[in-house]
Subunit: 220 residues, 2 copies
């Protein structure tokens, strides 16, 4: 056994991680499709893993779905961090994060629908866009860039706009998602206290290449 | 038969209307409680009507739930119309409707939760707050009171804020609902193009007595 443990944990760990990732990815597809009542068997079949493997990782479908939502939020949050790491102005970090998030819905409909499926709960999540937007609004207010009385109430508007914009972009396939997102971001910046011309200008700035935005296929 | 039809239709019609209203009210309670999978039998028992009566009015639980949501929206819309009928300025109609809607969540949690339960779908409903807010934004923009490029995108923010504010007021029982609602309304007015001081002033104006806001108990 001593010999085995020296070599095999890594391979075993990798296989376990692959199995878990396959379940999470499958769960995200079910959530995105609105199939919240799918039997565990159906999910394991879609993930191509055995029923027994399921219970090595999760105690229930609810626990898997929760993990799937958290993974989606974390992936989106990590992409935002990566794509905004070179910005100093918190107002611009806020604007760029919102503009990138708006562009996610069509690029990655599965991730988008997982995020939207749990909309109201996600507003107060400590993962994904919400905590970052909250952090940026606070920093921009401290720096005198935004004039915000109550960050939580401002976040209520920002989060609501983020969710409803995502829904609109799915409902109206012929709408230009970039233009719509930039207009909503500009409106929000004005609401947060930025002068109209500056709000407009910030939303016209070039964005970093979107390739770093999470793609569903790379989830596993 | 000739004699009967002269007398009985009214009584029969009234009884039918009472039965339907009892079913709709019961359905609203189930929706508000998140019991969307409740068996029809359970709903008819809560409404104190027979199973046979159910099928005189609705073909399925889904049809009843749809009617229950529409009744809630219509009731809320009628209250807004009544409470804003004396206002001329579309910017003030918008502000007052939003301020009254924010005050509804605690006063009538059942109605509030029925509206929130269907949040994203209701944004584009032709009943309730959404079509009225959309109408007011258009009128205020035409009158030069608001500066809005795209009414539908502005509505995305307004509707998102309305939904998330309702959720916040349910989640945070110790928050002052009137103060929070007025702050969000003020932020939205600024976003829609009103100068900051005027946005603030409009949200401090006295509101009509809230007794005309729909109460759940009077639904039937």
């Amino acid at each position: 056994m001593a010999d085995k443990t020296r070599e095999e944990p890594n391979r075993l760990e990798r296989r376990k991680a692959r199995t878990r990732a396959a379940l999470v990815t499958a769960a995200q597809s079910f959530i995105a499709a609105g199939k919240l009542n799918a039997p565990i068997l159906e999910i394991t079949q879609a993930a191509d893993v055995g029923m027994g493997s399921f219970y090595n990782h999760f105690q229930s479908r609810e626990e898997l779905f929760q993990a799937a939502i958290e993974e989606a939020l974390d992936r989106h949050g990590a992409a935002l961090d990566l794509l905004c790491e070179n910005l100093d102005d918190p107002a611009q970090v806020f604007a760029q994060s919102f503009r990138l998030t708006g562009r996610l819905h069509r690029r990655n409909p599965t991730l988008s629908k997982v995020l939207l499926s749990n909309g109201l709960a996600l507003i107060r999540s400590d993962r994904g866009l919400a905590p970052r937007a909250s952090r940026d609004i606070e920093a921009a207010t401290r720096a005198g860039r935004f004039q915000v009385q109550d960050v939580e109430l401002a976040m209520t508007i920002v989060a609501g706009a983020a969710i409803c914009l995502g829904q609109l972009l799915h409902d109206q396939a012929d709408r230009d998602d970039a233009a719509a997102t930039d207009q909503v971001t500009e409106d929000l910046l004005r609401m947060l206290g930025l002068p109209a011309d500056e709000a407009h200008e910030i939303c016209q700035r070039p964005l970093p290449p979107l390739d770093a935005l999470p793609q569903h296929d790379t989830a596993a």
